[in-house]
Symmetry: C2
Subunit: 96 residues, 2 copies
């Protein structure tokens, strides 16, 4: 997994954005309603997430609508498990 994905995840605001978009697509304005951060700060977070390919912004009239690239996030986390040889399946068996 590229370092930019790790870095994108290493911020609580950005993780919250991903969690919100996990529920449904949202415009920049809708997302902003969930944060106290200034607009330029949020824009910077969106841009970091876009550069990591974790989210995608589509023009929707005068708005930008963001959606989560679920498969990119999923692949990233699975790659992380593989990097550190963490076997989730084995763990599930232990818990069962």
């Amino acid at each position: 997994m590229p370092t930019k994905v790790y870095k994108a995840l290493a911020d609580p605001t950005r993780r919250k954005i991903l969690q919100l978009l996990r529920e449904r697509d949202m415009t920049a304005g809708e997302l902003a309603d969930h944060f106290d951060s200034a607009k330029p700060t949020l824009s910077r977070h969106f841009s970091v997430l876009r550069e990591a390919d974790l989210i995608q912004g589509d023009k929707d009239g005068n708005y930008v609508r963001y959606r989560l690239n679920v498969s990119v996030l999923e692949e990233a986390l699975l790659a992380m498990l593989e990097t550190f040889k963490i076997d989730v399946g084995e763990r599930d068996e232990e818990l069962a």
Copy 2:
């Protein structure tokens, strides 16, 4: 998962240290053999990983021997999957 774990993982040298310690415990010197980084740089990385509780350093004579806190790393990655509602089990079924 605390931000300091995410930040600890957001660096390729620190991830490599974790991967090396995943194989076996190593002294600071043994770890250093795998990197071109200056000693103080590596010490800083060790310290970030210790603060995140991902590794532990035990005095062994004149050496510090590092070991991976596997369960901390495992819990951290599983918490990440949960945060973003990534269901690895479901995926395994899809692939099967």
